[in-house]
């Protein structure tokens, strides 16, 4: 693997060390396919997690999965290391059905705040000591917890409008202070979808920010739990991060399910996957740049249209490959749906043409954006996200790499064909909005390098070894109670999936770890104390997609 700089390898922690570290607090072992799992008591959560973080170096709470069994509730904390994400450990916290109360992990990992709110909202586990135990995805007035066993979906629900009261009438949040309460969204051009940000302003300075999400909570996890592994789940990942990142998302599911059911993927299919995924990344980053320019300049006509122009080309290529412009549904478990389109030379030439034109286009972006003085004034030194804070919130992807965190699953937890290709992980140390834009722009160039190499490989691949799918049984029934968490580097960061199989052809629990969810939760850290236009710029630089935040 050529990844540029060699880093100090993170100290490997063996399972014996972990056992010794957790000691008596481990009630039992509950190993997952990806990691050793330790069952701990609900009131030991904080002490175990902080020991794992401080003593063993597990500084990344990648995910929290909550689920209900027939006889108990369970919260699973998936930990890994920023320095070496292949080292993983799961902390399993069972609670009784009658009294599902568990200690909060929020003091150890800030990102547990939102995760535990979601676990309470959807599954119904209470977290003792949680600073803000509200619902997060569903409205406050919702009755019941939809992913719990006895939820009745037919029951009527009430939703109020008042929580989004007219911002002009109650002009001041409280009469004593001079602050002003401002609703941004849920219908607002700068929120990139339907996000609602409750903001308190003191003059032009942002005092308090509270992102209110859930306006696009389309029950993705429920949908996936109702689908069969083989074919019915694959269309949904396209719709999580719908900014043309479809193939990257599909890969997250493909990787998880393939590891769960032990399916091989032909090498040729891996190359096609790698190429398609990187095309998606380019399209996705182009939109991020275009909308960021729209946010910062308020300019619909120039830079935004440049981004759209280039995306059209990528979408054309992807349409040739997959048959769809946006929702590709191209990956299959064990490979991809079909080979490159015929005539193959034409497709390869078309893609090469795009790559050849790309450097000139990137230069154009640099002229328009990063070299522009106004843009620099707007973005430099605004929206600061320190690396330590970013790690606390579980930030990944370009957001983390813009804060100097050298974390890219394509290299650190290799999958696909990335291992055999020449490319670099881009990081910037600025920690500000400007660095995040720079990272995206350079990643476009890196992706182009990867695609170029894939095209060479695809062109010269032996004609009789062009297998696009391995043999996969028509019905997949992984062994009951097999649990796995796997992730890939999506366009926005670490996109992970936890699956627990229950012996049937559908997952028992399907949990999505969305990078945008974590990145967005860091928004208050980036914007409090800054001016309100910088809040908009910071939000744009996070490049969130609400479909993935809310799932």
């Amino acid at each position: 693997m050529s990844t540029g700089l060699e880093r100090d390898p993170a100290i490997e922690v063996s399972e014996d060390d972990l056992e010794a570290l957790i000691g008596d607090r481990a009630l039992a072992r509950d190993d997952h396919l990806n990691a050793p799992g330790f069952v701990v008591r609900p009131d030991d959560v904080q002490s175990v997690l902080s020991d794992l973080r401080d003593e063993a170096g597990f500084d990344h709470l990648a995910n929290l999965t909550a689920q209900q069994y027939a006889d108990r509730y369970e919260s699973i904390y998936h930990l890994r290391k920023y320095a070496d994400p292949t080292q993983e450990v799961s902390v399993v916290v069972p609670t009784t059905t009658d009294d599902p109360v568990s200690q909060t992990a929020e003091p150890v990992f800030r990102t547990a705040d939102w995760h535990e709110r979601e676990a309470f909202d959807l599954v119904g586990i209470d977290y003792e000591g949680h600073p803000d135990p509200r619902r997060i995805l569903l409205p406050e007035t919702w009755q019941g917890h939809p992913l719990s066993e006895d939820y009745n979906q037919e029951k009527p629900q009430l939703v109020t409008l008042s929580e989004h009261a007219n911002p002009v009438q109650p002009d001041h949040h409280d009469d004593e202070s001079d602050t002003m309460f401002l609703n941004i969204g849920p219908h607002h051009p700068a929120t990139h979808g339907v996000l609602h940000i409750e903001t308190v302003l003191d003059g032009e300075t942002v005092v308090d920010v509270d992102p209110d999400i859930g306006y696009l909570h389309r029950c993705e996890e429920q949908m996936c739990q109702q689908g069969t592994y083989r074919h019915q789940i694959m269309p949904y990942p396209d719709r999580w991060d719908y900014v043309s990142a479809g193939l990257l998302n599909e890969w997250a599911y493909a990787r998880t399910a393939e590891d769960l059911a032990d399916i091989d993927v032909p090498e040729y299919a891996q190359v096609i996957r790698t190429m398609g995924a990187e095309l998606c990344r380019i399209a996705s980053h182009m939109l991020a740049l275009a909308t960021f320019a729209l946010d910062v300049y308020g300019d619909f006509t120039a830079i935004f249209q440049y981004g759209m122009r280039d995306r059209e080309v990528v979408q054309d290529i992807l349409e040739d490959l997959t048959g769809q412009r946006l929702m590709f549904n191209y990956f299959r478990l064990g490979g991809v749906a079909w080979d490159l389109p015929e005539p193959r030379e034409e497709f390869i030439e078309k893609t090469r043409d795009f790559l050849d034109g790309l450097p000139a286009k990137v230069d154009e972006y640099h002229d328009l954006l990063t070299g522009n003085e106004i843009f620099q004034v707007r973005t430099h030194d605004t929206g600061i996200l320190e690396p330590e804070v970013a790690k606390q919130y579980g930030c990944t992807g370009p957001v983390a790499r813009g804060s100097g965190i050298d974390y890219d699953l394509r290299r650190d937890d290799p999958y696909g064909y990335y291992d055999n290709l020449e490319w670099d992980v881009v990081t910037e140390d600025g920690c500000d909005n400007y660095s995040r834009v720079l990272v995206r722009m350079q990643e476009v160039e890196e992706s182009a390098k990867i695609i170029e190499q894939c095209l060479d490989l695809l062109e010269d691949w032996p004609e009789d070894e062009r297998t696009v799918q391995s043999n996969v049984p028509r019905t997949l029934k992984p062994d009951a109670d097999t649990e796995i968490y796997r992730s890939v580097e999506g366009a926005k960061g670490e996109l992970g999936i936890y699956i627990r199989s229950d012996g049937t052809d559908k997952p028992g629990r399907f949990k999505i770890r969305s990078p945008c969810f974590h990145n967005l939760s860091a928004l208050p850290e980036m914007s409090e104390g800054e001016y309100i236009p910088d809040l908009i710029a910071s939000l744009g630089s996070l490049d969130i997609v609400l479909g993935e935040v809310d799932r």
Binding site: P156, V159, T160, L161, S162, V194, L216, M308, M327
Partner: protein, 235 residues
């Protein structure tokens, strides 16, 4: 050229020069503004039509769209506005950020329970006459998410919809076709009957008392606007 040295042309006549124009349009009346349409009217410059009909014709050819992104379809909607597909060619494509400046709302995505009341409010804020294009399967029936506990089974459960564009997501061409169809309907003065009894925003105090309302009585004020979803009744 320094300013104390006036240009030579100032010394010449300042009367407007019409040489170019004259050579272009030839002798006689200036008919630069005459179009094929004008030609069709013959010698009279007057049109006899119903004012309503004229207004419908104008309306259909000048539509401001609401800049309203919800979900996946909004990406294709952006592409429809942007270069290559350029919806503006059809007299319908300037996205306005405020509902108060918009004539047409394209609903590009899944409506979930929390967003329903907000969408209704945005729709109410648009000035009459207003039109709605439902983009994608989610606005027709809930689409791939129809079985979700939180998904409204079609945008028509909340606001009336004039044109449904199917697809997941529809291609930009499909949306352009949908808009063109809407323009055609507006020009012909057609309106759409609402076929679903929509969910309304009601004051909490006006709701019929049942188990759910009584349970929430402590949390919600009498005057608060609420939307009640009867999931079991959904199509």
């Amino acid at each position: 050229m320094s300013s104390d040295q006036p240009r030579q042309s100032i010394y010449d006549s300042t009367a407007p020069s019409t040489d170019t124009r004259d050579s272009r349009i030839g002798e006689g009346a200036d008919d630069r503004f005459n179009s094929k349409l004008r030609e069709a009217f013959g010698s009279t410059p007057f049109i006899l039509t119903k004012f309503d009909k004229f207004m419908n014709w104008v309306r259909g050819n000048s539509m401001f769209m609401l800049q309203f992104g919800i979900a996946c379809c909004s990406i294709e909607m952006m592409h429809t506005y942007a270069i290559k597909h350029d919806l503006d060619r059809f007299g319908a494509g300037v996205p306005r950020a405020s509902p108060r400046q918009a004539d047409v709302m394209i609903v590009p995505g899944t409506i979930v329970s929390k967003f329903g009341p907000r969408m209704k409010r945005v729709y109410d804020q648009m000035p009459e006459p207003k039109f709605v294009v439902g983009m994608g399967s989610c606005t027709i029936s809930g689409g791939p998410f129809q079985e979700g506990y939180n998904v409204v089974k079609g945008a028509e459960e909340i606001i009336p919809i004039d044109i449904h564009v199917p697809g997941c997501p529809p291609r930009p061409e499909a949306l352009v076709y949908g808009i063109a169809k809407l323009q055609e309907r507006i020009r012909n003065g057609e309106s759409t009957p609402v076929v679903v009894k929509p969910y309304e925003l009601e004051e909490f105090g006006d709701l019929p008392q049942d188990e759910l309302v009584q349970k929430l009585a402590d949390d919600i004020d009498e005057e608060d606007l609420v939307m009640r979803y009867n999931w079991a009744d959904s199509p």
